[in-house]
């Protein structure tokens, strides 16, 4: 699945999202086409000291929510906390595909429809109980439960045989999940799709600890707010939660029974640090690990007690061109051929007109760089290098517009549309972060330079909800908007660009698109070459049709104190969290 990242652009902003679900400190892609060269591993190769202690920052302008359960949490910061004390049963590799290196192993049947999972010996919850298959089943029972109101009942869950019936409350059991014994279980899927390898949900829930919804011991609602997941949650990760100061900090201690071995650190403190003060805190040496907002790169760059690690983030920013409406009854997107933004040339020209290189260079000191395609370079196998995007070229933009009949007929400096009528494009952009405003402004200037009159909707930036409220509901005030998607582990773009995807906010549809998206997740697509070819075609199509114009890719910056050892942000790295430590 794709993960969305809604925050238009870094900075301090909502913590609502989203997106970085999978804990970016753990995983990452191969080295990509970055322009700046950052290390992925800390350089200190000393031995970690005995009983070291570490302080890790959650860089946030607001408190974390503290819903510390994989099935229910929604905030990024909760995800960060979860990653220290809980982990997935199946480990993943640099391509985000599940491996057999984790606490469990898996096997996929010939027809790719059945997955058998085996939990290794000695995997124990923090309270000493072994992790059982019933615990993983419990996660599915919760996610599919009719009362479940979180955002993880998705296609990959529904794809389990018997899940829709269970979800509607018709059955009490999920027929597609079979428990063989405490350590072995089987999942059967309705549809075979390569997404299984990247989207398989392998987070177990300690049934005995949190209480069983199935027996009526607790209800889902009680569970969500229960102390068992807020005050003393357990997992089977390398560290145990000792104490939580709600919204503020978490104290972990070593899980001596961790299945991989004894973790290096005796304890970890993880606390919320405001983006305003993170750099100072890092400088002062109070914080060992922290993600740094891109706009503060300049100030940390020369701090000498730290080391900066960075990888390209799983996200891209884009300009979306509204071309239709969501039809709620048919549950599909309907493209309107008469939409203001219906002209392909206009969209192409607008992409050419944007000077993203300067923005990345000057505003983000190179931490952002122009995007080329809708499948980000992180997905090395699927990102099409040959698609070069439409780099800043105002002349070309003008040419395109001229040719398509967008000409300035009344001499006011702005082009009219093909019919000679005034053309004002209404642009919606999200507030948040210091850079949101100058960027929006810069794009509008860029477009004005090629003769397009673009105005901000309501004359201002909108906050997250107001923005998405308008975008989701196809508010006629909006012609174009600036959004961002965070991509997760699955390169499949159909959730964002498919005909039936409600998140396809531009409402762009085409038959070719339908075809390609379908092929990309078909059973045939288990063949990487085939899939790559399909996605190359799709990227080509997107480049041509420009339903959205991707603007920039971004680096995610992590600062590590120089005393930190055995730490890597490379998802393909062999280092595991329990090895992370500090040197004398």
């Amino acid at each position: 699945a794709c993960n969305g990242d809604n925050s238009a652009d870094g900075g301090k902003d909502t913590g609502k999202d989203k997106g970085k679900d999978d804990g970016k400190t753990e995983q990452g892609g191969e080295d990509t086409t970055a322009k700046l060269d950052f290390p992925l591993d800390v350089s200190n190769d000393a031995e970690p000291m005995e009983d070291g202690e570490m302080t890790i920052a959650m860089v946030a302008g607001e408190p974390f929510e503290g819903t510390l359960n994989r099935n229910f949490y929604s905030g990024t910061y909760d995800a960060e906390i979860l990653s220290y004390f809980d982990e997935a049963l199946l480990d993943t590799d640099g391509d985000y595909l599940i491996t057999n290196d984790g606490a469990a192993t898996y096997e996929l049947s010939e027809d790719n429809k059945t997955l058998t999972l085996k939990i290794k010996d000695g995997v124990k919850w923090h309270d000493g109980e072994p992790v059982k298959t019933s615990d993983l089943l419990y996660s599915y029972e919760l996610l599919g439960h009719p009362d479940y109101a979180g955002n993880r009942y998705d296609f990959m869950i529904e794809n389990v045989v018997g899940m829709p019936e269970y979800h509607e409350g018709k059955t009490k059991e999920i027929s597609g999940i079979e428990i063989i014994d405490d350590q072995e279980m089987k999942f059967t899927y309705t549809e075979a799709t390569p997404s299984i390898l990247s989207g398989f949900w392998s987070y177990a829930t300690p049934r005995h600890h949190v209480g069983d919804v199935m027996t009526g011991e607790v209800t889902i609602k009680d569970l969500e707010s229960s102390d068992k997941i807020r005050v003393n949650p357990i997992g089977f990760g390398p560290y145990k939660i000792d104490k939580i100061v709600p919204g503020e900090s978490v104290l972990y201690s070593r899980n001596d029974d961790y299945w991989r071995g004894k973790p290096a650190l005796k304890s970890i403190v993880q606390k919320v640090v405001s983006p305003a003060t993170i750099v100072e805190s890092v400088k002062k040496g109070d914080i060992d690990l922290a993600s740094i907002p891109a706009d503060q790169y300049e100030t940390v760059k020369d701090v000498d007690n730290i080391e900066l690690l960075a990888q390209v983030d799983y996200a891209y920013t884009y300009i979306g061109f509204k071309q239709g409406k969501w039809d709620a009854t048919k549950k599909e997107n309907v493209t309107d051929p008469d939409a203001k933004m219906a002209s392909k040339e206009l969209r192409q020209a607008m992409w050419y007109a944007m000077d993203n290189a300067t923005i990345g260079e000057k505003l983000y000191h190179g931490l952002r760089f122009p995007a080329t395609s809708l499948i980000i370079p992180v997905f090395e196998s699927f990102h099409d290098e040959s698609v070069e995007g439409r780099m800043f070229d105002p002349e070309k933009a003008k040419q395109l517009l001229d040719d398509a009949g967008f000409e300035d007929k009344d001499g006011d400096g702005f082009r009219e549309d093909q019919n000679g009528e005034e053309l004002v494009i209404n642009f919606a952009s999200m507030s948040g972060g210091e850079t949101a405003e100058p960027i929006a402004k810069a794009y509008m200037q860029n477009w004005a330079d090629v003769g397009l009159k673009v105005e901000l909707v309501d004359g201002r930036l909108h906050d997250f909800n107001a923005f998405y409220d308008m975008v989701e509901n196809d508010d006629p005030k909006i012609d174009i908007y600036q959004g961002a998607w965070g991509t997760g582990s699955d390169p499949d773009p159909s959730g964002l660009y498919g005909r039936t995807a409600s998140f396809n906010y531009t409402r762009y549809t085409s038959e070719k698109n339908d075809e390609l998206l379908k092929a990309g997740t078909s059973e045939k697509a288990f063949d990487t070459e085939y899939r790559k070819d399909i996605y190359n075609q799709w990227q080509e199509l997107m480049f041509e049709d420009v339903p959205v114009a991707p603007t920039v890719y971004r680096y995610a910056l992590t600062s590590a104190n120089k005393r930190v050892v055995n730490y890597s942000i490379d998802p393909g790295s062999d280092l595991r969290l329990f090895q992370m430590g500090v040197a004398e």
Partner: protein, 301 residues
């Protein structure tokens, strides 16, 4: 009948008894601080309001990423901000907008509060009771929170709507003040006298009572004017500021979100902060002089 000599006397007397405005002016002239403040404040305001003559707003608002965060220099007297925009120009326009906001809020809230307060104070009794119950309730509202909610709600967030919102939460304090003084004033015999002379209520309120409260109102207004200028600063900091197309002093000050900017990019936020401080001090000193002018016992002149 009136003799020529007396006519002269009358004219002299007329001249000797200046209006409140003249008294205020006289008082200011006699107070060095107030005089300096007045000159300074007028200077600032005139410069700010005439800035459109020599600053092209359109041009000023243009972002230019090649010139971000530049230190003060000859081309940019006060450097540039994160969008490479000239801080000095923004300072001028910002002062104009902020002052307009402060003044409008003060005037609107003042006028409304005054009217309500006068009505409650003059009529007393049931009218006062009803009005005061409403005001008591309004005073309970956590205004900062309400303003934030309002800002989120209004579709068109501009100086105008902002002023309306702020005024909506600024008037009742004034109404309460005026009302309490009005209640005291209404017991005085000159009000009774006017009533027995057949003067209609509205006339008594505005032409008899109000002038006697005017000094209080002026003093209170100057103080709140000073306060209101800084109003949107805080909201901007929280991310609920005016749209960027309306730069204000708040926009500039709210750049100070992290120690790095506070320390290393002082030219963006510090001048605006100082300007607010200076304006507030000026207004305050003038306010002091006005206060003295309205109280014969304290006059210097």
């Amino acid at each position: 009948m009136v003799t020529v000599n007396q006519k002269e006397l009358i004219a002299k007397e007329k001249a000797n008894n200046p209006s409140l405005l003249k008294t205020i002016w006289r008082e200011i002239r006699h107070d060095k601080m107030a005089m300096i403040s007045l000159v300074l404040l007028l200077g600032i305001i005139i410069t700010a309001y005439s800035s459109p003559l020599f600053i092209d707003q359109e041009q000023l608002q243009r972002v230019n990423f090649l010139e971000t965060w530049e230190e003060p220099s000859e081309t940019h007297l006060l450097g540039t901000d994160d969008g490479g925009r000239d801080v000095f120009g923004q300072l001028l326009i910002g002062t104009r907008n902020s002052f307009t906001i402060g003044l409008s809020v003060t005037l609107i809230a003042g006028l409304f509060g005054l009217t309500v307060g006068l009505i409650a104070g003059y009529f007393g009794g049931l009218v006062d009771n009803v009005i005061m119950r409403i005001i008591d309730f309004l005073l309970v509202l956590p205004s900062t929170m309400f303003i934030i909610v309002f800002i989120v709600i209004v579709p068109d967030y501009s100086v105008f709507t902002f002023v309306l919102m702020m005024s909506a939460f600024a008037w009742f304090g004034k109404a309460r003040l005026i009302r309490s003084k009005g209640l005291a004033e209404r017991e005085l015999d000159y009000i009774n006298a006017s009533k027995t002379l057949g003067t209609p209520s509205w006339k008594i309120m505005f032409f008899e009572m109000f002038p006697n409260l005017s000094s209080l109102v002026i003093v209170n207004m100057t103080l709140t004017l000073a306060g209101n200028i800084g109003l949107e600063t805080s909201l901007t900091f929280l991310g609920f500021g005016l749209p960027a197309s309306t730069p204000s002093l708040g926009t500039l000050i709210a750049f100070a979100t992290n120690p790095d900017i506070v320390q290393n990019k002082w030219w963006v936020w510090l001048p605006a902060s100082l300007l607010i401080l200076i304006m507030m001090l000026c207004i305050n000193y003038i306010g002091q002089a006005v206060k003295r002018a309205s109280d014969a016992r304290q006059r210097l002149a």
